[in-house]
Amino acid sequence: MYAEANLHDTVEDAQVAAAVFIDGKPVNLAGGDVFEASTGTESTLLLNKGYYEGSYSSTLPTTGLSDIFMEVVHAPIEAREDRWYPVDLVNIDPGPGELVGTSATISFPPDVIVISPTEPVTLFSINDTIELTWVPAGMGDRMRALVSVECSDGLSFSRYGVSSEINDDDGYEVLNLSDIIFDSSAGSPLLDFISGTALVLLQDLLNELSAGNIDPDFVFKKTEANPAESNCDIRIFVQRLREGVFDDAFDSGSVTGGRSTEIQVKYSPAVLFSN
């Protein structure tokens, strides 16, 4: 089981994403087995299918830093609630599957307080860097940047997401723009394109921040315009991550709680203004 929950500093609800892999392959839950995320007072079923096989997401109202309990439950009627016909009367219930009962607990780390940059930054060269400073928490948590990139050369678009590990929660990191923007005319990019539950989580966060006005596959890689030669809007979500705890019977995979804040960067390459 892979599960992630994230609390963004400008959003009230937590984004929750989960996926199941068996022998390294993603598999769908089926027959009414679904992930349930709950706090002491709220619960939600992860009924939104994610952007790859076997991934699911939802949002969960949270109160402060309360832990989230994740469990695979068998809910044959609730899992069918988006169907138009009376599912409480007509459904074929195969009973609970083998993963039902699998659970984990997600704890949230302290929030991320960025010191700089606090205003949108504009960069002009792919070789530029972003000096990122924040208030370190020093509690053994790890840091990560999830980045969504949208570029346009005036005729076509590129959209993709990348993930970048931040070495230590020490309050200082230099992010290289070349780890975010690539030159498609120079061969295959070596970026860490976002994948797994982080992809589902970022898509859901972007959806939440835009009040649903975002393409459902926004962070899927589409590279029609060459990012290095395009104007790009870059949204960097700086995340502090804390490992969660599986139940005794199941410990394969990872479970993570995160808190994030956003930095906005504009990339305007000088080549656009030549001639």
């Binding site: 027959g31 044959p76 069918r80 988006d82 169907r83 138009w84 016909y85 599957g97």
Partner: protein
């Protein structure tokens, strides 16, 4: 609501039977292309139906309208959600009772409208498929109840007694599975039909 509909149907049935000794009657047979709309995210494919109707004209422009309609099974799209793949299908029969108004011009054409109530019986079948290791299957439930219908159409007289007809029909079945489910729905059936009528 239901008792009011029953009363109206009873009155219409009495009218139909008590005036049968009078002037002129018409029998129609119609072939319909139907489209079901269950009001949710359903996307039914078009479907076929057949209808038989009897009209008794106690005025030249006004008749009782008694009909039987039976549809073929209409299939919704195959869909996938977190549970698995599924496909729903509906099939319906209806007894219709109402009034028919017509306007016959000097030419061999007439325009008409029909309006009334229906008693329907509808069957819902759902097929589900999960994955290779979890068997799926299908299950069926049915319900019956009341609703209404209206139609507008035109007819062309081939002879003094024989007409061909083109008609648009809208039927609404109300509160399907209201007694047995917390998720009842209304079913609309829109139909375009061609038919033959015989007056005697």
């Amino acid at each position: 609501m239901t008792s009011a509909i029953r009363t109206i149907i009873t009155v219409l049935l009495c009218l139909q039977t008590q005036t049968v000794s009078a002037d002129k009657m018409q029998l129609d047979i119609n072939y319909l292309l139907t489209r079901f709309d269950a009001g949710g995210n359903d996307e039914f494919s078009s479907n076929k139906a057949i209808a038989l109707r009897h009209n008794y004209f106690f005025k030249d422009w006004l008749a009782t309208d008694l009909g039987l309609l039976a549809t073929d099974q209409a299939y919704d799209e195959t869909r996938q959600d977190v549970v698995g793949y599924y496909r729903a299908a509906l099939q319906s029969q209806a007894l219709m009772l109402g009034m028919k108004l017509r306007h016959r011009a000097e030419s061999p054409y007439e325009a008409y409208g029909r309006l009334g109530l229906q008693y329907w019986r509808t069957e819902l079948e759902v097929e589900e498929y999960f994955n290779e290791s979890i068997p799926g299957g299908s299950t069926t439930v049915d319900d019956s109840g009341y609703g209404y219908y209206f139609a507008i159409g035109g007819a062309h007289y081939i002879t003094d007694r024989l007409t061909i007809q083109l008609e648009y029909l809208h039927m609404m079945q109300l509160d399907l599975f209201e007694d047995s489910s917390s998720q009842p729905f209304d079913l609309g059936i829109n139909a375009l039909s061609v038919g033959l009528g015989y007056q005697f």
